[in-house]
Symmetry: C2
Subunit: 150 residues, 2 copies
């Protein structure tokens, strides 16, 4: 059976909440899902604008909470003074490995985290809803670059 498109999912979300489907929202969502990359509001805004599509930043800022609530995107980390997001609908849950030098990001899955979640539920009595593992380091290239410098 074919997976629902993100736009379909979003339409259903809107309907269920008495909200409306607009050209602006469609354009923003299409752009978010057009690339695999993470994004931030400013680059998303500029990318859309450069295509000649008129959009205001306010509309993006107003849309993001809806997309998060609908389970289509999530925020990944706060850096350089602003939040960074990624679309998650249709993706396997994954974690991020980031190079602190060149900022390259590798994604990986860590099944072990589920074991940790279960242990935490047992130990603290929490109901675990989400986990986020963020690993930082030096990628092979930057590692080499730094090795040569010293």
């Amino acid at each position: 059976m074919r997976k629902k498109s993100e736009l379909q999912v979003f339409r259903e979300y809107l309907q269920k909440n008495g909200l409306r489907y607009t050209k602006e929202r469609e354009n923003i969502i299409k752009e978010i899902f057009a690339t695999h990359d993470h994004f931030d509001v400013d680059t998303l805004y500029l990318t859309i604008r450069r295509k000649g599509i008129h959009i205001s930043k306010a509309s993006i800022y107003r849309l993001l909470p809806l997309l998060i609530d609908a389970g289509l995107i999530q925020d990944v980390f706060f850096e350089d003074g602003h939040m960074h997001y990624e679309h998650i609908y249709g993706h396997e849950h994954h974690c991020h490995l980031r190079c602190i030098e060149c900022r390259k990001i590798e994604e990986f899955t860590a099944p072990r985290l589920n074991d940790i979640d279960r242990e935490l539920e047992e130990r603290f009595g929490f109901k675990i809803l989400d986990h986020k593992l963020e690993v930082k380091g030096l990628c092979p290239e930057c590692r080499e670059k730094i090795r040569k410098m010293t």
Copy 2:
């Protein structure tokens, strides 16, 4: 052998970098290490002020990067529009389990993460420098509260 105090560590850090030890910096650091709790700039500022000590927020903002660089504190998460920190000097590396309802925080250690780090080094060729696991969920009390409501 006795562990160096955080102030000693900081003095050495300053010396090594041609920076100066001031009453203001001392007061801020003492307050940071006075409690086990996490902190944010605003509450730290108010706490110090309430003790009758005159400090400006600018001095706190200027000090934090030094403390991070010296390995005395780290930022833990961005929430409610601002960063939250904790002192790490003299503490075992730990992760955070947070209740999304009441915001309570439990700390835990996860030795398994070191295995993940090793796997990542092998798989991606990165030099791993740090990892941060943040788990969110409902604490026993909030879980119960919500169960009763529905």
